[in-house]
Amino acid sequence: MLFSNPFAELSASIAPIIMQTYVVIMIVLVAGGTLYDMAHKKSATYFFRNWRSAKSKGTQNVSSGQMVSLAIQTAVVDGLTSGEFCNVQRRVAHLVTMYGFLAYVVTAAVMVFFYPTPATPTPAILPQLWNFGALMICIGGYWFWFFIRVDVVAEGNSPLRLVRADLFILSLIASATLALIWAYLQAAGSAWTNVFLVLYIMATTLLFASVPWSKFSHMFFKPAAAFQKRVAEANGSRRNLPSPADKPETFGSTRRRPRHY
């Protein structure tokens, strides 16, 4: 299972062109869903209005070189290392899920497009990364689902309560879990393989098709918001916030885990 390309084995019953078309449709659904979401919520309108307002309130000019530097800082700190999170557990869970998702989707696309049949031997690293990525999604996802979700931890709601905000994380966890089960059953030659294949396809389709209604597109909006925040700090507007006090950080902190019940 860990070294075999599950999509190459699947090509015996489903033609590679169908799998490739499915991947392309999913990509189009994500792009289209994000654009529709932006148009519906007018995110771009408000983002640029906020940008212009921050620029007019700014006290310093930000050069294009500084902009590039801020973009790199945003990409590295807020993007690659999820630096926005103050809580270590939330940060680690997000990193595990994020990198797992990246490994999972990229390796799946590479295997479907470049190594679609057993005739094209797949490098062992690809199915290993695919399995490992799905496993990371499960670890980070279930950890978040049961122990970190703010409506469960801070508000005391049941972990089994389902709301619209759970659509993304649930479909993601379902897709990864069912992918692992399906790959295992296929490698074992089980009679349940096709059942779990159908469930896996359903969960994956739900994940990518529900973009306009789920939190999927936060992965595009959050870096933009983080960049805008850094630019506002650099140009002095700082969202009208006072400048940080010029005092040493010697007093520690009294913040406790929010638990409003």
Partner: protein, 153 residues
């Protein structure tokens, strides 16, 4: 003057939910971000504004009290034990304030439970807890009978 959350800045940490004394800051079920569920019941204590680690909460001023174009924003920095305010007036004036929150590290002050139980004699005494030491005097000032003038009808 109720509070509102900039959902693009909010990361859904729940600190405002925990601290709101009016129990009106809650988590939205669509975006899993904080929001004020009942602005009418907000008493503008600024607890959530100060508690938010992302400074994602602001207060919307009533039009008859806080005119358009104003801005009142606060930055609480626990590690530095400071609280800073920036007030922007409509005519462009700006006032900045920076105040200490405390002068000792968080958690360094003894709680009442850490003190020894007072003796029965101390409970009957006129002096309150920690007096006269906490007043930085040797003893409480008190009049003696010879200081009193005789009462004249």
């Amino acid at each position: 003057m109720p509070t509102f959350v900039y959902m693009t800045s909010c990361d859904g940490c729940g600190h405002c939910v925990d601290i709101c004394p009016s129990n009106i800051m809650h988590i939205d079920t669509t975006y899993r971000r904080a929001f004020n569920i009942e602005p009418n019941m907000c008493w503008e204590c600024y607890s959530c504004v100060k508690a938010c680690p992302q400074n994602a909460i602001d207060v919307r001023g009533y039009a008859d009290f806080a005119p358009l174009g104003h801005s009142v924003r606060v930055l609480r920095e626990e590690e530095k034990a400071t609280i800073s305010w920036k007030i922007k007036f409509r005519d462009g004036r700006e006032k900045n304030f920076e105040s200490p929150i405390r002068t000792t590290p968080w958690g360094s002050i003894k709680s009442p439970a850490d003190y020894a139980m007072p003796s029965p004699e101390a409970m009957k005494s006129q002096e309150l807890a920690h007096e006269p030491d906490s007043l930085n005097v040797d003893r409480l000032p008190a009049l003696t009978p010879d200081q009193l003038k005789p009462w004249v009808a």
